[in-house]
């Protein structure tokens, strides 16, 4: 039904969003003079029910076979109006949108210039509409499985929801254990729930769930395909410990020659581990891992007479010959839940982090107060990097307990000087929590917090902030300028901005409330999945309000802090959102595939293969056909693989391969319409 074009043009006021600048009547008047336009109208809100009814009524009344809607961006309402055409009995690809809002009325103030531009945009849409063709909407099956990258609280929650709904989940985690940052925390604000108590059962659940295949110490290496049919390749790094044999007894770690000599990442380097280690006692899976960079046997080829761990292991689980394993599988959907890094406090040299032993990051302090941390939950002054020389028979000197602790908020957040304009959303409250815990553990400790503003916006936050102040925690409004040492004290130099008084505050320990930043290895995931980043460099959602868990790529979703800073309940809520979004195509079993694919005119194709070479999806191949009795090679498109980028159409010298809806014959008239003065 490509027939002679009969075009209806509909110009939207969008309230005053468009009509406030663009003279809508004038645009309609102009549109009605364009070739093949049968009817041109304007309406206050075209996307509303009555607006859409205008289109379907006109399709019936005037026998329209092409529709131009001049309104907002096609990225906003193209799907809406495609459905309108469908319900009016037209092929949805007979729609062309003219973006006169985002790219016209909202960016130009001069009504005359904006109206002129709107006319050109509408004309370009009309001349393209004349050349539009009906396209087939094809469906493909969806593999009922989901890949989740990252097993922090967001990844864990999404995995459990999807697995409970009956779909297969492949949960891939880079580190040796699941749990993420939440596992490092002691208590959670504002309820003071014990983090481990609420997280550990979920960690065990993901390991035991029959629908979840957990791959820790693993990395996604390759992803190809599209929604419904992604092919995934994962590298399971060798732990040099047989996962089936290891009982998690820990005999190996005790005897490791490197025991207590390597900073434990899980303890933020405050605690020490050996080359064979379990990050923390509740790690899941409870299997030991050999870190090959630090293992003497693996890095130097020699560990005393023979590796002690191997001798100590009664289960005979240690095998230095184990290799990385590559596993491949298919999934229908992907959830990215890769989390965050904490801000590197060294980027604020005025706070002397890394210079003075007792300037800590909040996450280091979190490990200090944590009952399963390196000090067993005792808050003590740190002596970093010093080997305690203990003489035979001499008792170690008991570490000193700080008499005063000072927190500094917004370290690396709301700070243009380090490139982070955003608020990290958790620091005000975790600082209040840590201050409470400090007071709780050392009642006579003087606790002071330097802040810019206190943002206690969530459920129960303001109440908790009030409680902490009542407990005697002192809040001073001011952003410290310097930290230096005087005797055995640290001095925080600041100005109390409420009283405009410069002050020097003496303290034993300084805790920097570092913000949340995008992971330093985010690039790996971007390269794998072609995700976009927002200006803060977290991953970009498809729409900031209406599609907060989707990405621009169908079938790929975001959960947790990888999309932007958030606290645990928000991360869990987003994970549940991403899980249910991922389940939609898996539950329906079918998805529509790209219709705007490429198509070859075999009669003019010369079989040069330029299109084959440029296709990023290997969707084009050369096949032999019979042309008037002669065998010739021509290009042929596999429509299931074609993603509709059009690279082939630009490469073709004879114009024989074209992208549907973006054919030369459709774009060239647009160029002519827009070129007119």
């Amino acid at each position: 039904m490509n027939g002679k074009p009969k075009i209806g043009v509909y110009v939207c006021h969008c309230g005053t969003n468009i009509a406030g600048v663009v003279n809508v009547e004038e645009v309609v008047q102009f549109a009605s003079t364009l070739p093949d336009v049968v009817v041109a109208r304007n309406y206050s809100y075209m996307c509303s029910d009555p607006g859409q009814a205008l289109i379907t009524d006109d399709i019936e009344k005037f026998g329209l076979n092409r529709v131009v809607v001049a309104s907002c961006s096609p990225r906003m309402h193209e799907p809406t109006f495609r459905k309108t055409l469908l319900s009016g009995g037209l092929n949805p690809y007979f729609l062309e949108m003219a973006n006169i809002r985002e790219q016209c009325s909202w960016v130009h103030e001069d009504p005359i210039a904006a109206t002129e531009k709107a006319k050109r945009i509408v004309e370009a849409a009309v001349v393209k509409a004349r050349r539009l063709e009906a396209l087939d909407v094809k469906e493909v099956d969806v593999e009922p499985a989901c890949l989740i990258i990252g097993a922090g609280i967001a990844g864990i929650q999404a995995a459990l929801d999807i697995a409970d709904a009956g779909f297969k989940v492949y949960l891939v985690e880079k580190s040796p254990t699941v749990g993420g940052h939440m596992a490092q925390l002691d208590k959670t604000f504002p309820t003071l729930d014990c983090s481990a108590c609420i997280l550990t059962p979920k960690m065990v659940d993901v390991a035991n769930h029959p629908n979840i295949e957990l791959m820790t110490y693993s990395q996604v290496e390759e992803i190809s395909g599209y929604i419904g049919n992604f092919e995934v390749k994962v590298r399971k790094k060798s732990r040099f410990v047989d996962m089936d044999k290891c009982t998690g007894c820990g005999a190996c770690a005790e005897v490791c020659r490197m025991a207590g000599r390597i900073p434990n990442e899980f303890d933020e380097g405050i605690g020490m581990r050996g080359a064979i280690y379990l990050p923390f006692p509740q790690a899941v899976p409870a299997k030991y891992t050999i870190d090959k960079e630090n293992c003497l046997f693996l890095s130097k080829g020699k560990c005393g007479e023979s590796p002690k761990c191997k001798e100590a292991c009664q289960a005979d689980a240690i095998n230095f010959d184990l290799q990385d394993e590559i596993v491949e599988f298919k999934v229908g959907t992907i959830i990215v839940a890769t989390g965050y890094d904490v801000f590197d406090a060294r980027k604020k040299p005025e706070y002397a982090y890394g210079v003075y032993d007792n300037v800590l990051t909040a996450l280091e302090f979190e490990r200090l107060v944590n009952a399963s941390g390196p000090t067993g939950g005792k808050i003590v002054m740190l002596e970093r990097g010093k080997k305690k020389k203990k003489k035979e028979g001499e008792e170690a000197e008991a570490p000193r307990v700080p008499k005063s602790i000072t927190f500094i908020q917004c370290v690396g957040s709301r700070d243009k000087s380090v490139g982070n304009e955003y608020c990290s959303r958790v620091c005000c409250m975790y600082t209040a929590k840590l201050a409470h815990l400090a007071k709780d553990k050392i009642p006579d400790c003087e606790v002071t917090i330097f802040y810019m503003d206190v943002r206690a916006f969530g459920k129960g936050f303001e109440e908790f902030y009030d409680r902490v102040r009542r407990e005697g925690v002192r809040y001073i409004r001011g952003n410290p300028s310097e930290i230096f040492r005087r005797g055995d004290k640290l001095v925080v130099k600041a100005e109390d901005t409420l009283t405009a008084t410069p002050l020097e505050h003496e303290t034993d320990m300084v805790v920097l409330s570092v913000g949340l930043v995008p992971r330093s290895d985010n690039r790996e995931i971007i390269d794998l999945l072609k995700l976009s980043q927002s200006s803060d460099l977290f991953y970009l959602e498809a729409h900031p309000k209406l599609r907060p868990v989707d990405t621009a790529s169908d079938g790929i979703f975001l959960a947790g802090v990888c999309q932007g800073p958030k606290d645990i309940p928000d991360a869990v809520a987003q994970a549940k959102g991403a899980a249910s979004a991922a389940m939609i195509p898996m539950a329906s079993g079918k998805v529509k595939v790209e219709a705007q694919t490429s198509v070859v005119n075999e009669a003019t194709c010369r079989g040069c293969g330029f299109c084959v070479a440029v296709c990023p999806y290997t969707a084009i191949e050369l096949v032999e056909v019979n042309r008037n009795g002669w065998p010739v090679k021509v290009a042929r498109v596999n429509e299931a693989l074609c993603k509709g980028c059009g690279a082939c159409a630009a490469a073709c010298l004879s114009g024989s391969i074209q992208q549907r809806s973006f054919k030369d014959i459709q774009i060239l008239p647009q160029i002519q319409a827009l070129g007119v003065k």
């Binding site: 790219q103 909202w106 130009h108 050109r120 370009a124 509709g644 059009g646 973006f662 060239l668």
Partner: protein
């Protein structure tokens, strides 16, 4: 440049990829960032779709300048389309210069979906660049009946 005068308002045709630059231009709108109305946009799915023929055609049909904008290197939604666009652009620019077309007329930029403010800067740069070389009258205009 005899034609150079302050009243000259150039007419520029822009080819934007759907995923980054078109979205970035939309974001400029959502953020109500004001910029000159000289640029008129054609949406393509990928900057790799932009055939050099389109650029020649635009200059022939009355445009004083052409802008091609895509995702930043490495961010292409279709993996490498923006690299194809860049290579074609480099060759085409040499060719246009050979024909006597000023390099200011044909520009390429990377604008991501989050760079509404950068879109405004690109527009201002392109408009000022084309203004500096005056109207395009090197090619004969012809109206084609599509």
């Amino acid at each position: 440049m005899a034609e150079k005068n302050s009243d000259f308002e150039p007419n520029i045709v822009a080819f934007l990829c759907n995923w980054c630059s078109y979205a970035g231009a939309d974001l400029a709108g959502t953020s109500r960032i004001q910029y000159p109305p000289n640029v008129r946009v054609i949406r393509v799915m990928c900057s790799g779709r932009v055939n050099p023929l389109f650029v020649m055609n635009a200059l022939q049909q009355g445009a004083d300048g052409v802008l091609i904008s895509g995702c930043h290197p490495g961010d292409c939604h279709y993996m490498q389309g923006n690299y194809y666009a860049r290579r074609r652009f480099m060759l085409m620019r040499n060719f246009l210069e050979y024909l006597g077309v000023e390099p200011e007329r044909v520009r390429m930029s990377w604008v991501s979906a989050s760079e509404g403010a950068k879109w405004k800067e690109v527009i201002e740069e392109v408009v000022n660049g084309v203004k500096s070389v005056g109207p395009m009258n090197k090619f004969q205009r012809r109206q084609l009946n599509w």
